[in-house]
């Protein structure tokens, strides 16, 4: 299996500098090992640390996601694609997308979209767990990758997703996606979609 990679830049909070990272169009064994051996222990220790400090940690709504099971279930299926960002020898973010879903916004209803099944940031990059976060920009770069994939597949930048409540504001404000409201067919999670014009605007706006 051939894996493509691109140089991207994350904002390292501690040094206030952009640092070189790598975006890859695959989640490989290395990422799953990072998830199991680093993400999971860090997630639970951060929650315990916050509790010990008397801070009730913000519920981590993706805590039950098991990336090993997810990747195993889609292996060799053309309908799904995966991406990751690595920096400093560690996986910083992962995303799984589905290429078989259709748009819901009236102006593009029925047209194919890149639907983001799962997008997750490493625990140390989440301000709710680790403040200040280690790296910023991970989510934005993965959204950008979804838009670029949408364009490469002829979907012209259209993307969609169901957002966990903690991320609603990110998709609405930072990504400029249209909020179509809670979806009773998907645990009442809010459904967000990006049009061709919104995708163009997102790509044009310089990110920090």
């Amino acid at each position: 299996m051939s894996v493509n990679s691109w140089v991207v830049y994350l904002f390292e909070v501690e040094s206030s500098q952009l640092v070189e990272a790598e975006l890859r169009d695959a989640i490989l064994e290395d990422q799953l090992e990072d998830w199991e051996n680093h993400w999971q222990p860090e997630l639970w220790s951060a929650m315990l640390r916050l509790k010990a400090q008397g801070v009730w940690p913000v519920k981590q709504e993706s805590a039950h996601w098991n990336w090993q099971d997810k990747i195993q279930s889609i292996r060799s299926l053309l309908a799904y694609r995966t991406f990751c960002i690595t920096c400093g020898g560690m996986t910083q973010g992962m995303m799984q997308v589905d290429l078989t879903k259709s748009a819901r916004i009236e102006s593009q209803k029925g047209k194919p979209i890149v639907y983001i099944d799962y997008l997750e940031n490493a625990p140390w990059n989440r301000p709710t767990l680790n403040n200040p976060a280690r790296y910023r920009n991970v989510g934005t770069l993965l959204i950008r990758a979804a838009i670029e994939l949408s364009r490469a597949e002829g979907f012209k930048g259209r993307i969609g997703l169901h957002s966990l409540p903690q991320s609603n504001n990110f998709y609405a404000s930072k990504c400029g996606m249209t909020d179509l409201g809670p979806d009773s067919d998907c645990q009442n999670l809010r459904y967000f979609e990006m049009t061709i014009d919104q995708a163009r605007s997102f790509l044009e706006v310089p990110k920090e």
Binding site: S2, N4, L78, A79, A152, F155
Partner: protein, 70 residues
């Protein structure tokens, strides 16, 4: 993204018309329509092979009709 290979596809007039109609309706070029069709075909085949069933459900009546997949 990954390397691509080229093939010649022979279609009847009716098949070409259907492809062109889908291409217009989905706002995709013909190659993208066929790649999309292949993704769906493979996905459905894998899920049916794993023992799942494929249904169409009427939005109004909620009536379900199983699609036989050969």
């Amino acid at each position: 993204m990954t390397g691509k290979r080229t093939m010649t596809l022979n279609l009847t007039d009716a098949e070409m018309s259907a492809l062109e109609e889908l291409s217009a309706r989905k706002d995709l070029n013909k190659t993208a329509v066929l790649r999309q069709a292949l993704r769906l075909y493979q996905l459905i085949e894998a899920r049916v092979e794993a023992g799942e069933k494929l249904y169409f459900e009427s939005e109004t009546t909620r009536e379900k009709a199983e699609v036989m997949f050969l």
